[in-house]
Amino acid sequence: MRKSTIDLEIRHAMWSRRRFLKTGAGILAGMAGLNALPIQAAADPHKIVVVGGGFGGATAAKYFKLWARESGLDVDVTLIDPNANYSSPILSGMVVTRQLEIDRLDFSFDRLRDVHNVNLLQDSVTAIDSAGKTVTLSDGTTTLPYDRLILAPGISFIDVEGWDKDKIPHGWSGRDQLQLLTQQLADFPEGGTFVLKVPAAPYRCPPGPYERASTVADYLQVQNKNARVIVLDAQADIAIESETFHDLYDEFGVEYYGNIQVQRVNSGDDEGNGKSITYVTLEKDIDGNVIGQSSEQTIEADVINLIGDHKAADLIFEAGLNDGNWAPVNPLTYESTISGKEFIHILGDSQGTPIVKAGQAANNEAKVCVDAILRILAGETPYGSPIVTVGCSAPVTQTKVNWAGNIWRYNAGTLQMEKYVGKFAPEPSEANWQPMLQWAHNLFADSFG
């Protein structure tokens, strides 16, 4: 059926009516009949506010504009991000090992504005009024109304006693952190010690923490630093491709310890001296329950890459959108399932489905979300059996690249996304290097271009 203008107006009116009926005044208006509906609403564009310009947020903003036009819908999309550019964690491992300029992973939002007509606002959201359907900006007073709010704010880290991120970088989110870790490794002293702390799952990747450890170990070896490289893992053993990474760690002389719980760190002085990390080794039973722990041990190190355990971004907690550390959502729409938080959708790393916390997954989730919202606005129902497909690549040494392909499928019985297919490259290979760059380039262009 072609979507004529008249059809569209009816759809808009139906949508407005459903919204309107949710309010007390709406119920009265509904009783009074259709004539009492605010007719002018049909002409107003649907206001979409997107918070966070990473892979999820940028993709959502772009595809709202592309697909609304195809559907004959009018949407006004505003992307809010505190930065002018997004610094991609994907391929950031090549920055750390000085194989890629950090600028090459900066993606501006200009194309979203100039080509796709997305409104850009370089600002932060500090509060969400889910009843009034507004967000408050960083000045504390300016508010922005929304019909649908898309939150793609990424991750934050569970704090560790003594952790000053300006001295002990996670290097896991944001350009400044990536640059700090890169520089500390560039300045790495002969015979020095590097400690990398692997976070408890679920964590953001690619690159994953195990790849970071092997690439840095390779890099320090190539630089003839005669370094001691230590991996402290929250998991009992390497969580993915255990054999591959154990082989690499053996090759590079990496010391690996599992079941580690960090107690505190000493972030050192302004000259970078005096850093240390203090931890215990947990004893666990066969079900993974903690039944004991070792005495504390401390390692003094020249560079500590503390990739803290992850949780949803602060905004999710402040807005009451979390259940535990993540935001529960309906995987058909990515709308929050918390009562009173209707019309708020959470994409990417902060949402709580079992889907991997990858930029490509966020891109994918954004499309599921946008397609669903546009269908709802057109008076239809969301697509009922979405899948999320991810094929991530990352270097594991300075010359070899690995990939992992995974597909999640919606289970209508459990109402959850479930892993359907998962596979790794048979072995890390130089042959995967160019395909990795091609994959990343297309993903960057699809998300930001």
């Binding site: 595809y63 992973l105 392909g405």
Partner: protein, 147 residues
């Protein structure tokens, strides 16, 4: 239109450079480093130009709006690696305009001979009905821009 894209491409690097200068300034406070020297020692030759697709040259046939639910969405998931609307960047396979070939490719990649290829995973992951939806969508896309 293409000229504008080129301008955008140049503009793209300017804010990054500015950010670098300000970052170097702020890091001096912590006694760390002069960040601008860092990248000068690297010459990767690797660029990710995201401005190559000319969206004014993309045509989506009006009948695409009538396709079964899921067609547009499933097709867009291929775009993560094959470009928005299947218009790929960096000499990678395009999907726009493809119909029957898509199911041929998806069947081919299911073969174990392709297990070292990422497409093997995706070929196993899509049901036949889903592949058929992809086949309905991509013939609706035309691209007349330079590549």
């Amino acid at each position: 239109m293409k000229l504008m894209h080129k301008n955008n491409h140049r503009k793209w690097y300017r804010p990054a450079g500015m950010a670098m200068i300000s970052l170097a300034g702020s890091l001096l406070l912590t006694g760390c480093f002069d960040s601008s020297s860092q990248d000068n020692e690297i010459n990767s030759g690797i660029y990710f130009d995201i401005s190559t697709v000319d969206y004014s040259a993309v045509t989506v046939d009006a009948s695409a709006a009538d396709l079964a639910p899921g067609a547009r969405l499933l097709a867009s998931q291929c775009a993560e690696c094959h470009g928005t609307y299947g218009v790929a960047v960096r000499d990678w396979p395009d999907l726009w305009g493809s119909g029957r070939q898509i199911s041929n490719w998806m069947k081919l990649y299911q073969d174990l001979n392709y297990e070292d290829n990422m497409m093997h995973v995706h070929a196993l992951g899509y049901t036949e009905d889903e592949v058929n939806l992809l086949k309905t969508y991509y013939p609706k896309i035309e691209y007349s821009g330079a590549q």
